[in-house]
């Protein structure tokens, strides 16, 4: 059996000097049976590994670029899903990435219209809101523009291998606040 993961990214909180423990435990407590947790942090959260082990979770920790860590917590006995999709439905279920408020289907637009529509739409959204867009290619020229505007994003190909789904979370300085 493969484990669906709920994703929690506490890197922004840690970078801002905040304490993410409550947020993590809240996510853990709302996990459905069989669900796991995918955690992103700016350091290896060793105390948390021990604590969640006592709650029956095994873990796989992986160091990312820049000293950051990705940790998969699986309920004991479950098999972590390989190639599990970061942009899948699970990503939008945790507290930090709410359900998308806007969904765009840009698959039939001429390039660079898909990028124009995404950037124009995010400008009208509130900080923290999430936009979901379907594309027919990985939007390589879009990512630097999102980064410049302080938005974060996740993306990946859907199981059909042809549709690229990108989730954009509007940053604090983006959107109407800008």
């Amino acid at each position: 059996m493969q484990t669906p993961f709920v994703e929690v990214d506490v890197r922004p909180i840690l970078r801002a000097g905040g304490e993410p423990f409550e947020q993590i435990m809240e996510a853990v407590n709302t996990l459905k049976p069989g669900q796991g947790l995918r955690l992103f942090a700016t350091f290896k959260p060793t105390p948390l590994l021990t604590m969640l082990a006592s709650k029956g979770f095994t873990h796989e920790a992986k160091e990312l670029d820049g000293g950051e860590w990705e940790v998969l917590f699986s309920p004991a006995g479950a098999v972590p899903a390989k190639d599990e999709h970061p942009a899948g439905a699970a990503a939008s279920r945790d507290g930090l990435w709410p359900e998308p408020t806007t969904n765009l289907d840009n698959r039939d637009l001429d390039p660079p219209e898909p990028m124009v529509r995404i950037l124009a739409t995010t400008e009208a959204m509130e900080p923290g809101e999430v936009l979901s867009a379907l594309l027919c290619r990985e939007p390589l020229f879009l990512f630097p523009e999102l980064a410049k505007r302080g938005h974060s994003w996740r993306g990946g190909y859907e199981p059909d291998g042809k549709t690229y789904k990108v989730l954009v979370r509007v940053g604090e300085h983006g959107g109407r606040a800008a």
């Binding site: 039939d108 390039p111 400008e123 290619r137 390589l140 990512f143 523009e145 999102l146 410049k148």
Partner: protein, 448 residues
Amino acid sequence: MVGVALSRWTMTYFAAALVALLAGECLMTAGFGYPAAAVGAPETLALVHVISIGWLSLLMCGALFQFVPVLVARPLHDSWLPLPTLGCLVAGLVVLLLGFLKLGGEIDFAFSYFSVAAALLSLGFALVLWNLGRTLWAARPLPLPARFVVVGLFSVVATVSLGAVFALVLDGASNDILLATASQGLPIHIIAGLGGWLTATAIGVSYRLLAMFMLAPDLDGPTSRGALYSGATALALAIIGGLFAIFFGVNLSAVLGAAGLFGLLAVALYGRDILFLHRERKRRKIELNSRMVGLALASLAIATLLIIALLVAGKFEQHAAAVVFLVAFGWLSGLGLSKLYKIVPFMTWLECYGPIIGKAPTPRVQDLVAEARAIKWFILYYLAVWAATGALLFEVSIAFRGATALMLVATIGIAVQLVKSRMLADVKAMPKMPVDIQRPSLLFSRAS
């Protein structure tokens, strides 16, 4: 998922390349080199390298520094290295041209021109290989279009190495192996350069760009793989097999003939794929740049048929120059000029308007070009290239010069359109446009 930034020096490469193309066309119109001089005359060799290194190779390098990262979804290994690389390539080309002028008696000053040119060009192309190679290596496993680029990069190693051997011999080296290679290696140098470095790479990039701009699916099926494998086999046979034939006294023509069959298969499979992309496209009305690529592909098809016809008639050697001309100007240059008419406006649009998309009204990419004005220059260009090829086939020297003069006029027309697009000259004033839009520099892109 880090995305791809604008390549800072790609515009610099494009500008240098266009200057070389215009210079080459001026020389042909003035009657410099073949057919007024012999195919192997120093003037012809100078002209050939103005086009092959100055125009086509710089164009290809500039495009690859921007689009290899797009093909593999990774940033370029080193975004500053392209500038010193360009310095080496241009300096090497200038010294090489001086060497040919000295060889032809046009200048007197004695100097080891060819050895210095070989060193500078080898260094320049080595830097290209290092930068693109590291970018590709980090992205393994590679998608199909990037594999064509790898074949192209292996071919440029062979082309430059053979060129360096010729250069050393021209400067007086007398080693037996070098002499044997130099005396028979010219066809391999041409095949590796035009067929490998330039054509294989152009095919790879076009698989992706045409699919992107026509809204067609990315191809990775048996025909595309077949095109890759048969093309790579053709080049390996021609280059490795060819050198083997030279060293061991095997019949070189037989080896090159076998390579040609694989090359023919590769071109046929590629042609089939492109027709498929065209049929499957979601975008019904395609832009001028893609339509003009059609004429470049037609030139490739004509060149292929011409090779077959000349071989059957037993007249290939007599007319090889006409085939090389059609491949260089109809296929490679036509493809390059047509794609420049998309790449330059797109990069300019992204540089100027990317930061304000959604915050203020912005023009579309197509608002940066005036297709109705540009189309006549493209049509004139292709007609002139085909006329010049005919003039070479029928050996009418004056008609050739007339046709190359028309090519020159058409290229100036296209270049003016490209500069206007870069300078945002055709963009109508937008209402409420923020005043802080910086006009782009003609020669480089600002860091994004």
